[in-house]
Symmetry: C2
Subunit: 302 residues, 2 copies
């Protein structure tokens, strides 16, 4: 295995769609997600088994998981609690993703629990999921800072990881929920955490809120991260964090890495087509840039 | 002098305004440029002494140079030919910026000359300007590739630099005119060129066409570049290159470098205010992101 290879988790179906105000028909969700899978993306966070009251847009989670094309792709769903974990196991997903914020304030707003309570609940979820021979990933929201609490020391992150590891958790996503991180901070945090926890597989979940999505991804890559989240067209956000805007854009990420000669699976041309189709479907201008400018090597008649 | 310090040339008045279709009143241009100077930017490319027929928006070049606040700031103007150089000397600018494309096709479209002819003209301009005790900077358009000719080898760039150096030119801007570069290419080109030409002061002029403006800047910084162009709000483009969009955004660049603890002069809060004022003036949504999201450490009431 080429140790430069990058693995991308597409989060369009979850982090992307959850922010859409207008109902996206289940069949349209399926069509978009299947195009992403067909482009070569090998891991998708397709939806969330969350209360339909909290996020009505994702009330068709069961149908989405049933109807998407499931060959040659790992399917992950976000879950907020043990009830969600049960639904996810019934739907036979490969992995569940649970969220806890590093920020006490954001955790309260996002899932109405203390961080300690979340950690305990995650341990319980993990036992249940592992007994079903499936995996749990923990997303550490506001890893690089919080719009209510500011920027904090990496120690605050490592303490929570340590607790969760002692309870059997092994996979962690460092999430820059509101796009506060800068490339120096990403590099410092990643190098610190990879040194303290050499056996953990860390991934990065970045938002482009302040234009630093790609530079933070590049910085994370240089610090040794090989797993990244992204969403088609750069849609997404966080309903419980002010100023949060889209995820790093899937096709812009793939485009950059492709031209850096970094091996990865998705096909850029297919992704651009998918992004354009989704833009038509959603009816507004998406943040993605390569879908508009075209790939770097596209030449024009002179 | 801290060798980490970054110097920014604001190009709002030239690369930015030249792309605006609607006439911007001279007094509004002055107001914007003065706000940028007041924010602490120490070098501005304020306008271009170009034919009013070619770029009507910049037909007030003389008045702009006369009326902007000129203390504590270096003033540069773009010039297309010796006539422009004469006007620039009359206006007593500190430096002129001349352009030659690495791409024969783009050079023809941009200034209707062969590259060889441009090189000869630049040598003549340089003699004249130096005899006036002023400096010439050469912008190498399409350094990282051309939308008509594709991506080329760095050798093609170094050959043109070598010719121009033999004619007395010393300052060069590597311009990614249409945002084709990726961070690996920027790093490779910069390291190569700085090794071959250790005495040249290189600067980088980047566009965010494919979302890679900030990551290319970061990569250039890591390869040793300390001088960068940027435009307020990320406005700009190139009228003679398909798909070209805005420059890297001044306040987004300053914001990122500030949070990376890199010393630099401009004040981010002042720049955000200036960008908002310009957005109102221009009447459309600017590409800048920090002006919308706010700075990373801005906290909200919980």
């Amino acid at each position: 295995m080429d140790n430069r290879r990058v693995f991308i988790t597409d989060v369009t179906g979850r982090d992307g769609f959850q922010m859409e105000k207008h109902w996206i028909k289940t069949e349209d969700k399926i069509r978009i997600i299947n195009r992403i899978i067909n482009s070569g993306v090998k891991r998708i966070e397709a939806t969330s088994f969350v209360s339909p009251k909290a996020i009505p847009q994702l009330r068709d989670a069961k149908e989405v998981i049933e109807l998407i094309k499931r060959d040659n792709v790992e399917v992950v769903t976000l879950i907020p609690n043990i009830k969600g974990a049960e639904l996810a196991m019934e739907a036979d997903v490969d992995e569940v993703n649970v969220v806890v914020s590093i920020s006490e304030t954001h955790n309260k707003k996002n899932i109405n629990k203390t961080v300690d309570q979340s950690v305990k609940d995650i341990a319980e979820i993990n036992k249940f999921v592992v007994s079903n021979n499936k995996r749990v990933n923990v997303s550490l929201a506001t890893t690089f800072g919080c719009p209510f609490e500011g920027i904090y020391e990496v120690r605050k992150v490592s303490e929570i990881i340590k607790k969760l590891m002692s309870m059997g958790l092994k996979r962690f996503t460092l999430a820059d929920t509101t796009g506060m991180a800068n490339p120096t901070q990403v590099s410092d945090f990643v190098i610190h955490l990879k040194t303290v926890f050499p056996d953990v597989q860390f991934s990065l979940h970045l938002h482009n809120t302040r234009g630093m999505g790609l530079v933070n991804l590049y910085s994370g890559y240089n610090a040794g991260i090989r797993h990244f989240d992204a969403s088609l067209g750069g849609i997404g956000g966080c309903p419980f964090a002010p100023g949060a805007t889209g995820n790093v854009c899937l096709e812009d990420v793939v485009h950059m890495l492709h031209y850096m000669n970094i091996p990865l699976d998705p096909d850029i041309d297919e992704l651009i087509k998918a992004a354009k189709q989704m833009e038509t479907l959603l009816g507004y201008k998406l943040p993605g840039q390569v879908m508009r400018a075209g790939i770097s090597t596209a030449t024009f008649e002179s």
